[in-house]
Each structure stands twice: as structure tokens, then as C-alpha cells.
Amino acid sequence: MVILTGALLIYAMGDFPSWADPASPAHNHVSPRYIEKSLEQTSVPNIVTAVLADYRGYDTMFETTVVFAAGVVCFFLLRIPRKDEPTVRRYRHTLTGMTIRVKETRQIPPVLEEFERIDTLWAPHDLIIKTCCRILVPFLQLFGLYVIAHGHHSPGGGFQGGVILGASMILLAISHDLRTAIGRMSERVHAILCPVGVFIYAGTGALCMVLGLNFLDYGALAGILHVDPVTARSHGILIVEIGVGLAVMATMIWIYNNISSKGKYDEGL
């Protein structure tokens, strides 16, 4: 059946224009207008960002909603607590090194001084990986912020910066425990950040509608920001990119937390 589909596609391929022809029909209708007019209408040199956030801003808003919905679905699938098995925890005596003790109890003991809690598949405390990753994480976050802010002039934008920011927190969770990463950025914080990102986007659109022009037409922001409409569109693109970046970052961390701990948030990689 696969060969049949392949043969069908190859037959349809015979109609294609030759490779990289400038006169093929995909190039002729809308995109010359985008290329020629985007700089004078929005003052953003990166045409892809301008089209993505301004000319086709409606698509991007729903895509952010889809990403948020995927995070919510992962949360609902995996995060339901189950009480059918007693929790088995493992502790390790720090002074003598390698005495591993298994303790089954229903009551959670308070924080003990000599014992630290380890995971089921625990690797020994590796100094190189922990130090290197801890040094690297602030630079990763700085680079993520740079990518979001420079979406106008270089390849980048909201999605890429958001994914890099999320990946920095996932790096922290991989190199240290999952509990360390959750201690840095608790579940409530990133569960709230995700819809805040979506609301920034939709809120900008609604604000433009309130001020008189169409939905997501950023020229209406010129009154608030006291600039001419062309620069107002550039600033509007920046605001929605920040919203998109926030939503994507929170969703990546959320999905990783849910997948790597099977919902119980106890152990991780």
C-alpha cells in the first residue's frame, strides 16, 4: 500500500516546475507584495518575522493556543495522583558514602540531616557535569532573550527564543535532580506563565480593537506609544513575540516535567 501511495506521488511530481525557478506560481501572487512593502510599512528587515507576526498574526495566535492546549493535555493525562501503591523512597547516608537504605512508610519523615534523598536510578555525584551545567545555564538564558529581542534583524523571533529558554531549565533538570529544578521554578509559576503568554498576545489584539481599528492591526497602538504608525507596528511585533516566547517556554518545561516523572514529580532523569 505504501508503494502505491509512492507511485501516485511520483506521478503527480511530473507536473512540477524545475528546481528553483523564479517564475513558478508559488512566487507570483502574494509574496512580491510582502517582500517589497514590508520594510516601508513595518520597518522590520526580517521579512519572515514581519509576515508571521503582523500580516499573518491570526495564525500565530492560534498556534500559541495550540501549544498551550498541548501542555494542558499532557498535564491532564499524567498528573492525576494514584494512591494504590505505598511510596518507596530511598535514602543515602552522606557520611559513610554508599550505604543505601530502602524505607517504606506512609508518613513522610521530615528533612533529615544525615540522609539525603536519592532517586531510583541514581548516578553518583559528578562534579564536572554539575558545575559545567550550572555555569552554562545563565548564558543560555541570556542567549534566549537575545534571540527574542533580535527577531527583527536576524533569524530568530519568539518561538526560537522561547524554546531556548525552556531548554535551559530542562538542562538544569537533567544535570541535577528534578527536585532541584522544581525548587528553582515551581509548578505553579510555570503553569501560570503559560496562559499569561497567550493572554499577552490576545490582549494586544483586543487592545487594537478597542482603540478603533481591526483586530491585531497594530497601527492603533500609535496613540498609546506616541510614535508614528510604522514604528508602532514594529513595537507591536515585539510585544507579541514576547508573549509567544513566554508561552512556548512554559509549555516546554511543563511537558518535560510531566513526561519525565510520570506525574508524580518525585524522580527524574
Binding site: W19, A20, N46, V48, T49, P155, G156, G157, F159, Q160, V163, I164, G166, A167, I170, I174, M252, I255, Y256, I259, S260, K262, L269
Partner: protein, 81 residues
């Protein structure tokens, strides 16, 4: 577009794709999927789609591979097929 480079990277992409679905170890499948994603990113950079290449490098070769490895870690690693 230099067609020799194009053809070489396309061959590598097809080999990585066939390897990712034929290997019997699920962790190896996840890593080969990361390599496939990186080769795709190179192809798009050759074609001039820098934004798409950036997104695929960060999303496919970064976060997507991490999700796969985390899921394989939580389920079994061997497979019969």
C-alpha cells in the same frame, strides 16, 4: 545551491531515517532521530530558509530528542520489532 553537497546530505538523511526505524533499541532510535533532525536543519540552511533551520535546530535536535529520551526512560528500552 551546490548539488554535490545537496546530494550528500540528502543521502545521509535517508540513511538516518531508515536507521531510526529499523534499529531494535529504542534509545538508539531516539538518538538517530536527533541526527536526522540536525541533517534536516543543514538542508534548510543550504536552501536559504534560516528561520526554519534555526527553529528546527532548537526544537527538533534539542527539545524533541530530550522528550523521546525521557519517554524511553520511563518505559521499556528493548523492542522486538
Amino acid at each position: 545551491m551546490i548539488w554535490q553537497l545537496d546530494l550528500a546530505i540528502l543521502t545521509l538523511v535517508v540513511i538516518a531515517a531508515i536507521g531510526a526505524i529499523a534499529i531494535k533499541d529504542l534509545l538508539g532510535s531516539a538518538i538517530l532521530f536527533g541526527a536526522y533532525s540536525f541533517m534536516m536543519c543543514l538542508l534548510w540552511a543550504i536552501m536559504g530558509a534560516v528561520d526554519v533551520a534555526f527553529t528546527e535546530a532548537s526544537v527538533g535536535a534539542g527539545v524533541s530528542t530530550v522528550f523521546f529520551v525521557a519517554a524511553v526512560f520511563r518505559t521499556t528500552r528493548r523492542t522486538k520489532d
